[in-house]
Each structure stands twice: as structure tokens, then as C-alpha cells.
Symmetry: C2
Subunit: 333 residues, 2 copies
């Protein structure tokens, strides 16, 4: 009997339990995947803890939204896919309803993308949350001048690396920030032109020095809170600061005088803006797949766990010592 | 002997004194204007009080930046203008150096614009600060959908009326806010589709009701401070809130969760962004002059003072009971 991950109440990683469950039949517009690998995201840890604001699951519930696998069954009304095809899911569905942690998952067919041959299951599970989150600010909503600078905070996250590669694909240079000195070398090796260890180096002054006084034309930040005032100081005139998360516990002051003097915009962004817009989503899928095929994009994976290590994978995620994506490999390809 | 306005120290309106002064000769790239009318701006009251952050005048000093007048003399290197032409100044110079309050003024030729025949001196002195400030957010930086809604706070200012006319010229509908019930009828008569008296009506709920739940696609606000959270609630998904001033004494919290959920941007803007960019300035001048000529734009003037009433004009400005521009008429045309 195949196994899936469920949990019965909010809490620590150990609430995630592996249980045997017979594969369900896909409904209208759905498919069943035989899961090969799962990308692990912060929002899943938030959901498990009960701190994710957008979902209110009924227990017991499934969890997870990024998977790569093989189509096992098609529900009614599904066109364009066939049993046996290998696909990844774009996280554009209610993960409490369509959780993908496990050996099988029911997912909406509209969320599926065929992946480049040869990318492998692990990397194929590490693409869509990260690259589409970078796609909005760096492609859909910006037209950066060649050689201009991106400032990417929390650079060691999977989204941070995807943003680095996307900024580079757009002809930009990139500065990454991390709180951890031990991550700096890895970030530089990944291609960041400059790494700022916040807490050790002054952020705005270092960015200004690295950019020859120009400042960052695009700032990409999931932290929010008081750091935003420093990001505004580090920004170029006319820049946009994209806030795509709310990691900070403190409120975020709007740096009005700096925004007035420099003509800065501070814009909230979530992946939902892309996935809910069919035109943008199609453009984003094409943009990312082309660059995966050419090797310009290459998902950075930190560590691979087994399915029976799912609680350990969440503990590792919450320790925040990783650089890149945490992936659970369910079975060999 | 002609008279000019000077002041010798920061302070109340009475510090502005009329003094006789022989007309100076224009320097390189400058002209001397025989001033017919002067537009009065809040930034001049701030400068007089000593609270304007960008200028640090040496006393005694002149003041003022918006004038309409007749060219009396050309300095070396001035092309394209002739003595006897009637022009207005775009406020793009240091007003402590080039103050225009008085019967004559030296101004940079690059700031001059020929105005439509028939607009008259008073209205011709009431154009550029207001209409170019509206031009950036409503034209240069936005492409509003026809029938979408603008939300214009402090709507009874000269910039508010210019923003109303600009929003309408862009095919938008407009909601104006005021703190004063006694201004509401005048705002409605000027063309606002809905007027919200803040303090009496809930801002976000009223905007949502007036827009059929759509919210405002462009928000144009000089107030800042805590009202920005309400403006975010009143904004449409994907909207931009343009902050073009800092009237509030309180800091401005960034409404992060609302900005994330709606994909909102909050962008600082000042007229300097337009006047320092020759391409944008040329486009903006053309956009405004064409609409003044066709009558689509019609500056709203609240009250006209004489030059010997300059202190009274500043007192009236600071009482904030006016709707539209305060103009000082220096002499008959």
C-alpha cells in the first residue's frame, strides 16, 4: 500500500506522519501523480505550525505543493496530458486540499508543466515556487538596464538563487545578503557579484560602494520590517523594492523621505499574481523552461531527504542553515 | 522704482517685506521677467518658516517659483525667446536664488514656457506646479484602464484639481477627499464623481462602495502618515499609491499584508523627477499646453491678492480654507 503524509493537528515537525493510503481517483480536471520528488517550502512549515494566514485546513489534512512525478491517471476533462508523462506542479492550488507530500497525489491538471528531459526528478521538484517568484519582479514587472544592480536579501534561499539567475539572465549584476558568514563563500561561488553579511557590514554603504554609487535598481526582499529603510538607502533613484514575504516579526516603517527624494516604489508581490493570470503564467512558464533547457537556469539544491525523513526535512528547513532548496526524494526514477 | 519681496529671517508671513529694487541684469542663460502674476505654493510657506528641507537661503533672500510675465531682457546665451513675449516659469530652480515674488524676477530661460493666448495672467501663473505634479503619476508612470478610478486626497488643493482634470483626461473616474464638509459641494461641482469627507465617512468602505468593489487603480496622496493604511484598503489589486508630500506629522507605516495580498506599490514622487529629465519635461509641457489650449485643462483659482497683500496671501494659504490656487496679481495685463 502506498504511503502519504498527513497531520492531525498544528505543531512541530513530528506531527507529519506517514500513513498507508490507497490511491484516490482524480476528479474533474485533475490527475493522479506517482510522486518522484517533493520541493519543501517555508509556507508548508508555516501551515504545519498553524501560522499560514491563507489556509484553514480540516484535519487530518495533507500538505505540500511542489512535486515532480509521473502521471498515473487522468480525471474527466483533462486534455493535453497522457498517463506516463513526467511533470512538475506549479504551486497554484490549495495545498491543504491537494497536498503532494507522499507517494501519490491528486493535483489540478492546470498546474502541470512538462519538464526538460535530463533535469532529473530532484531539480524538477525545485523549480516553480522559486523561479516564478523571481519572474514577477525581475521580468514581468521590470525592464532593467543592462549592467544595473539587483539587491537580493535572504540570498541563500531557493528563491534567492532563482532571483540571482533571473537577474543575470536579464543582464544585471547581483548583490546577495545573508546573516551568516558561513554562507558567504557559497553565495559568491553561486555567482553573486558581492555578498553582504548583514550585522557585520553596513548594508546601504556596502551596496553603494559595490555599485559605484549607483545603488540597486531592483531590490527583492522577503524579510520586511526595519531592514526596508536600509534597502531604500541602498536603492537607486527610481528603483522598486519588491517585498515578497513577511519574515520579520516587527512592523515595516515606510521610508517616506527617502522614497520621495529618490522616487522609490515599495511593492508587495506574491506568486499568486502570476499564477492567477493565464497570460502571465504562460509567459512565465515559457521563460523558465527555455532557460532550464539551455542550462542558464539550474536549481540549487541544498540537501535531499527520503520520504520517511519528512519530519527531519522540516526540522532542517526551520533551522535555516541551508543554502538552496530542500528536496524529498520519494523513489528512484 | 519697482518693488520685490524679500525676507530677513524665518518666521510668520509678516517677514515678507516689499522693498524697492532696481531691476538686475540677467546672467548667462537667464532672462528678466516683468511679473504679471505669481502662483503661491505651500513650499514657499515652508521655506519662509524655515521648515523646507531642500533649501538653505542666505538672508536677505527672495522667494517664489511660479510666475507669469513679460520678458524684459535676455541674458547671454538665451535662444528661442524674445523681449516682449509672455511666458510662465516651471518651478525647476532654486527659489531662494531665483525668487519670483515681486515686479521683476531673474529666472533661468530653460524654465520658461509660452502659454496659450487668452488664458490670462492669473491662470497662467497657476499651471505648472500643479499640472506637472499630476502628470508624473497619471501620465508618465501609469497607463490607467478607461473607467478605472483615481483616489485623490487633499482634493481641494491646486494639485488636487489638476489631478482631477488629468485623471479625467486619461479616461478615469475620480474620488476626492477633504477634511472639510464645506468644501464638498465645490469639489463635486468641479467634477469629482464622489467626494469623501474624511472624519465623517469611512474612507476605504466609501471608496469600495463608490467603485462597485473595484477600488482605486491610482491613489494620489500628499498627506502620508497613518492614512496610507486606509488608502491601501481602498486600492484596487495591482494599484499604485503615489505619495507626493509629507503633510502628516506622524510616521508612515507600510501596510505590508495588504500590499502583499493586493500586489500594491507605494511610490514616492516629486516634481523634480519630471523637470530634471529633459524628455519627460518636454512631453509633460506638450501634454499640458495642448489641454490648456483645448480647454480640457482649466486651472482652478481660489482667490487673487495684490502684491502689497503678500503677507495676507501667505496667511490665507496657511489657514487652508481655500480650494484651488492662490494667486498674487502684480499688475494689470
Amino acid at each position: 500500500m502506498p504511503r502519504i503524509v498527513r497531520y492531525y493537528r498544528f505543531g512541530d515537525p513530528e506531527e507529519l506522519v506517514l500513513e498507508e493510503a490507497a490511491p484516490a481517483a482524480p476528479g474533474l480536471g485533475e490527475v493522479r501523480l506517482g510522486v518522484l520528488a517533493i520541493g519543501i517550502n517555508n509556507s508548508e512549515a508555516q501551515l504545519r505550525r498553524g501560522t499560514y494566514p491563507l489556509l484553514d485546513p480540516e484535519f487530518p489534512t495533507r500538505i505540500g505543493k511542489e512535486a515532480h512525478g509521473i502521471i498515473e491517471a487522468l480525471g474527466p476533462g483533462v486534455d493535453g496530458f497522457a498517463v506516463g508523462e513526467r511533470v512538475s506542479t506549479i504551486p497554484m492550488f490549495d495545498m491543504a486540499r491537494y497536498g503532494v507530500y507522499g507517494e501519490w497525489a491528486i493535483v489540478p491538471a492546470e498546474s502541470l508543466v512538462r519538464m526538460p528531459v535530463g533535469l532529473g526528478a530532484v531539480k524538477s521538484a525545485a523549480v516553480w515556487q522559486a523561479y516564478l517568484t523571481a519572474y514577477g519582479p525581475f521580468v514581468a514587472y521590470s525592464d532593467p538596464a543592462p549592467g544595473s544592480w539587483a539587491l537580493i536579501t535572504a540570498a541563500s534561499s531557493s528563491v534567492g538563487f532563482a532571483a540571482l539567475q533571473t537577474a543575470k539572465a536579464r543582464g544585471m549584476k547581483a548583490i546577495g545578503t545573508t546573516r551568516r558568514r558561513d554562507k558567504a563563500a557559497g553565495l559568491a561561488a553561486a555567482g553573486f557579484d558581492r555578498v553582504v553579511v548583514t550585522g557585520e557590514e553596513p548594508l546601504a554603504a556596502t551596496v553603494m560602494e559595490a555599485t559605484g554609487g549607483a545603488g540597486a535598481a531592483i531590490v527583492f526582499d522577503p524579510i520586511s520590517g526595519p531592514i526596508v529603510a536600509e534597502l531604500a538607502e541602498a536603492a537607486a533613484p527610481g528603483a522598486t523594492i519588491f517585498e515578497y514575504g513577511a519574515l520579520a516579526a516587527e512592523p515595516t516603517p515606510y521610508p517616506l523621505v527617502t522614497c520621495l527624494k529618490k522616487g522609490l516604489g515599495i511593492r508587495g508581490f506574491t506568486l499568486w499574481e502570476i499564477v492567477r493570470d493565464p497570460g502571465r503564467l504562460a509567459d512565465g512558464k515559457r521563460f523558465v523552461v527555455e532557460r532550464l533547457e539551455s542550462g542558464v537556469f539550474d536549481p540549487v539544491v541544498d540537501r535531499v531527504f527520503g520520504l520517511d525523513e519528512i519530519a527531519a526535512a522540516h526540522r532542517y528547513l526551520e533551522a535555516a542553515r541551508h543554502s538552496g532548496k530542500i528536496v524529498v526524494k520519494v523513489r528512484d526514477e
